[in-house]
């Protein structure tokens, strides 16, 4: 069955270089895994720094 999804106008600028929609779903899978771990590590690092008192009071607006 042909796909019902066909662009009506010139293809939107979702190029292979676009960070929003990468080359293939598998590329996004690899990218998403990296992002997950980055967020986990960054979040836990921030938690540990704060719990150690490395973020002084009044530093943050």
């Amino acid at each position: 069955m042909p796909s019902p999804l066909t662009p009506r106008s010139p293809q939107p600028p979702q190029t292979p270089e676009s960070p929003e929609f990468p080359e293939s779903p598998e590329d996004h899978r690899r990218f998403s895994l990296g992002e997950d771990w980055c967020a986990t590590i960054a979040g836990l690092a921030i938690v540990l720094l704060c719990l150690l008192g490395a973020v002084p009071e009044g530093m943050l607006p």
């Binding site: 019902p4 598998e26 998403s32 967020a39 943050l60």
Partner: protein
């Protein structure tokens, strides 16, 4: 068939799709770029300069939000709008400023160049790990059971309805899989996982992702308002929000608007639902390999090890950080004096707010409706109908499972 191809849901003969189903070079295993795409149609790769500028574009509105949340209520204090001004939470300012930035950047033609800096998922996941530090592990343990039951039932209900209704409207099987996954589990991430499982076209994935955002953003404001109108408890509100809104970022925004306790439950429910993504991805791969399109889907994971690897790869890793932060702080509450611990938890809370603010600004900056207009009415109707089913089913389950939940 309409001669003009007008939106009757019936398509005129189409020219060859510019992106064929993605395949890999059998020699290298690398994805093969689309040979039909003209070099002139490609935009220049985002340079580090544009990305840095994009970071400034995200930071500036986020700083502006910190000003607005204090300045607007203060300015409206003696006026008729004082009540409204006090009730506007920071996600609303952040998304609106993001929309404003989106409009300006789109007019200037700069939005796409800066898009690499618009890291909604990174900011929201970092913020959720920080949120874990403010949730007592005992609450997580008590909520996870009903959250799991709700997730399994709601995923099954919404996936089945979407699959059936899309089939009745004649939507392509692969697009059905993307829509059903996105709606029932966790939005774009689920659509990406499903796209890999069923070898969907890139256009189908882009379209599904756009639909997810188009429906998720209004939900940020709509669901908290409806919950307040119906007098739902914070736990039921949070469970309803977490089980309904498709993206984790929008769930977080809506939960923030609804209140601290609702946010905690919404985060637990949503992350529980997200964790089931791997299971659904495996099942989809098997269905498409054995039944829908034998030979067209990737080889299904037939060994137990392969199944476990797929589930592990799809598991959202930030959930581990969320749980670790919750456990760590729960232990410290028993061992550290509150006079020492509380200011440090306040610092974590401030940074959590910053992370969420950055994410909500990015939601506004990334919002795009144009791609949805190009695809016709059938998938949009499927999405709208399934969202309604999700809302009703989710409300029923949230009320049944969370109405007696105490913090």
């Amino acid at each position: 068939m309409s001669a003009t191809g007008a939106r009757t849901g019936v398509r005129p003969p189409v020219r060859p799709v510019r992106s064929a189903p993605l395949s890999s070079d059998p020699r290298t295993g690398q994805s093969v770029p689309d040979p039909d795409e003209a070099p002139a149609a490609r935009l220049p790769r985002a340079s580090s300069g544009w990305t840095l500028l994009g970071i400034v574009v995200v930071l500036a509105p986020a700083a502006g939000v910190q000003v607005l949340v204090r300045a607007v209520p203060a300015a409206a204090e003696a006026t008729a709008f004082a009540g409204v001004a006090r009730s506007i939470e920071f996600p609303i300012y952040a998304i609106l400023l993001g929309f404003a930035g989106n409009g300006v950047l789109s007019l200037l033609g700069w939005r796409q160049r800066m898009a690499a800096a618009f890291r909604t998922e990174l900011f929201i996941k970092t913020g959720l790990v920080l949120l874990g530090a403010s949730i007592n592990a005992a609450i997580v343990l008590r909520a996870i059971g009903p959250a799991l039951v709700q997730a399994v039932l709601l995923i099954a209900m919404v996936f089945s309805f979407t699959w059936w209704f899309a089939g009745r409207l004649g939507v392509d099987d692969r697009l059905r899989a993307l829509l059903a996954s996105a709606l029932s589990i966790c939005g774009v991430s689920a659509a990406v996982a499903a796209a890999g499982a069923v070898q969907a076209r890139k256009e189908q994935l882009a379209f599904t992702a756009t639909l997810v955002i188009v429906f998720a953003v209004p939900s940020i404001f709509l669901l908290p308002w409806l919950a307040d109108l119906m007098g739902l408890s914070p736990a039921v509100t949070g469970a309803w929000i977490g089980g309904n809104i498709d993206t984790t970022a929008a769930v977080t925004a809506a939960g923030t608007v609804a209140g601290e306790e609702a946010l905690q439950i919404a985060a637990i429910v949503k992350t529980t639902q997200n964790a089931l993504l791997g299971v659904v991805a495996v099942l989809l791969t098997m269905y498409f390999a054995f039944r829908a399109a034998p030979g067209a889907a990737p080889s299904p994971p037939t060994s137990r090890r392969a199944v476990l690897r797929t589930v592990r790869e799809r598991f959202p890793k930030f959930v581990l950080g969320f749980l670790a932060a919750s456990v760590l702080v729960t232990i410290l509450r028993e061992t550290m004096p509150s006079g020492v611990l509380d200011p440090r938890l306040d610092a974590i809370k401030s940074l959590q707010t910053w992370a969420f603010t950055l994410a909500f600004v990015c939601i506004g900056l990334e919002f795009k409706v144009s791609a949805a207009r190009e695809a016709g009415w059938r998938p949009v109707l499927v999405f709208a109908a399934a969202t309604a089913v999700n809302l009703l089913g989710g409300l029923l389950l949230a009320a049944l499972l969370f109405s007696g939940f105490a913090f």
